[in-house]
Amino acid sequence: MILQLIVTGISLGVVYGLIGMGMVLIFRAVGIVNFAQGDFLMLGAFICFAFNQKMGMPIWLSFAITAVLIGLSGIVFQFITYWPLRDAQDKTIIVSTLGASIALREMTKLIWGSTPQTIDPLRGGIVKIAGALLQWQYVIIIVFAALLMSMVYFLLEKTLLGNIMQATAQDKYAASLMGIPIIVAIGLTFFISMLITGAGGVMLAPIFFITNTMGVMAGVKAFAAVVIGGFGSVQGAIIGGLLIGLIEVFAGTYVSTTYKDTVVFAVLIISLLVRPQGIFGEKISEKA
């Protein structure tokens, strides 16, 4: 029982962590908070649904196609919401992403309707680990999300491309003086961010139903994960996501199913009060 809960919690948590990581990448690159991130999770699930259920492709193939398509849509998103507003105030960009979130939700509703849909699990059936019966889907989510995260980490820290992206994130002007095409670096960041978010959506889809509002709660919980972990820190997003996932599952079982979200966000407020900068955040003193 406990093991099952832990596995469920971790698998939810890694998905929150993936979305949170996407947010952190964008935040580090361009300094804005993307309120439409959860809706890209929903979009990923719906695109995969179209390939898997409507066209009858095998799930792994549709997963791969979805990942690429959702990444490309991230670049488009970047050109619409961020690039024209790059010199504007933060609040303007935030409202622009809120508008994008409404538009995405309505677009999917117009295309695929509002009835809840579902897709094939990445692998069906049940596996027995250490005496506990677990669904394969949860195990696969954990393995696959860990793989994705380590790939992104490797890309960011060990490759030239990652260096280019980090340089752009730190100082756009200096990066452009070094001959880095900023727009390419930012576009690439949005590509990766949306790719991992959409992949999270495909992995969550067999567990929850696909609706056009499935991204709202997941997005808000990813926010919570990012804030608990420390804004701007990639490993913080992952740890925060795991915490949120575990708290959600355990609160749902031992406290009350109706109040599980309330407990999650109460934990967020408490953690903000105790450690506003997050687990991995550094305390930056204000500059005058």
């Binding site: 619409i80 935030i94 409202v95 622009s96 309505e106 509703k109 117009l110 309330t262 903000l272 204000e286």
Partner: protein, 329 residues
């Protein structure tokens, strides 16, 4: 001097026109349209509360709809369940919501910028969870129905038209108070905190307390809006007080322009009346609306009021340069 007088006359004329329109409006339009305008004014009150905390004090709060919900549920419990008079219920809604905002503010305002916004998202979600699940206090998922009508003495507000006068009266009063606040030392200290906290504290302003007071004032307005909403619709449930609604308020104030209450008014009118005018678009309405917000932010980052001001400034500048050119300077 003469120019100033003409300007005053025009303003007086406009005010008289507005009054005539307001008084006659319920006689010349359908009940449905009055209903839409009533909801518009309630939205306006909620957005005005956001103007105080976001436009003046610079703290982007996503909890306004939750505060409104607190006001609505206080009114519903006070008047319908315990049988207090509606006026008392409304005053208790305003005070209760303000007190809640003031106390929770001490916790939330320890956080700055984005972090404050996130904590208000969390607050909003917690409040919504409580509204949706606390069967005893809020009716749980079913909500609370059959709420009593608003009444003063023996006079019962039982038609849309009567509510129209009531709500517009409250809106005008609230606008005047907020306008006075804008010119008062307290309002100026809000704006000082918004522009630069360190400089503000050097001027002897207590940042935490100032932000708290701003949040409490917004709480009064939210409590009023929630209370009016409960009286007007006669039924409240948790779905009316959810996060998307709060996000909408932020969008509304950004569309109108966060620099003045007029922006809040224009934004709420636009957001409530556009769906009526664009009814023929049907399902595409919300999609166009979302895309429209994105487009508007690109074209007018300061909102409609800010854009209008820019245009006016350009017009004045051009006029001046022409005068200069004519004088051969």
């Amino acid at each position: 001097m003469r120019k100033l007088k003409i300007k005053n006359l025009i303003i007086l004329f406009l005010i008289a026109l507005a009054f005539a329109l307001i008084i006659n409006f319920p006689h010349i339009s359908s009940i449905y349209m009055i209903r839409v305008l009533n909801m518009t004014m309630i939205t306006y009150l909620a957005v005005l509360s956001l103007y105080v905390v976001f436009g003046m004090a610079g703290q982007s709060s996503f909890a306004q709809c939750g505060l409104m919900g607190i006001g609505a549920y206080i009114t519903a419990n006070m008047c319908t369940r315990w049988g207090f008079s509606p006026i008392f219920g409304m005053i208790m809604s305003m005070l209760g919501t303000a007190l809640f905002a003031f106390i929770i503010g001490f916790a939330l305002f320890r956080l700055k910028r984005f972090y404050f916004s996130f904590s208000t998202i969390a607050l909003m979600t917690i409040l919504n969870g409580i509204f949706a699940n606390w069967t005893k206090g809020t009716g749980g998922p079913v909500g609370m129905g059959n709420l009593v009508q608003f009444s003063v003495g023996g006079f019962v507000f039982d038609t849309e038209a009567k509510y129209f006068y009531l709500i517009i009266g409250f809106s005008i009063a609230a606008s005047i108070i907020i306008w006075k606040l804008f010119r008062s030392p307290l309002g100026r200290s809000f704006m000082a905190v918004r522009d630069n906290e360190i400089a503000a504290s050097c001027m002897g302003i207590n940042n935490l307390l100032t932000k708290n007071i701003a949040f409490a004032i917004s709480g009064i307005l939210c409590g009023l809006a929630g209370s009016l909403f409960a009286f007007l619709s006669g039924y409240i449930s948790a779905t009316s007080f959810a996060l998307p609604q709060s996000q909408l308020y932020l969008v509304v104030i950004m569309i109108g322009g966060s620099s003045s209450p007029i922006g809040a008014l224009i934004g709420s009118i636009l957001i409530n009346l556009l769906p009526e005018w664009l009814r023929f678009l049907k399902d595409y309405m919300m999609l166009i609306y979302g895309v429209g917000i994105m487009g508007l932010m690109v074209v007018l980052p300061e909102g409609l009021v800010g854009g209008g001001k820019d245009l006016y400034a350009k017009y004045i500048k051009r006029k001046r340069s022409r005068v200069d050119a004519e004088q051969g300077l």
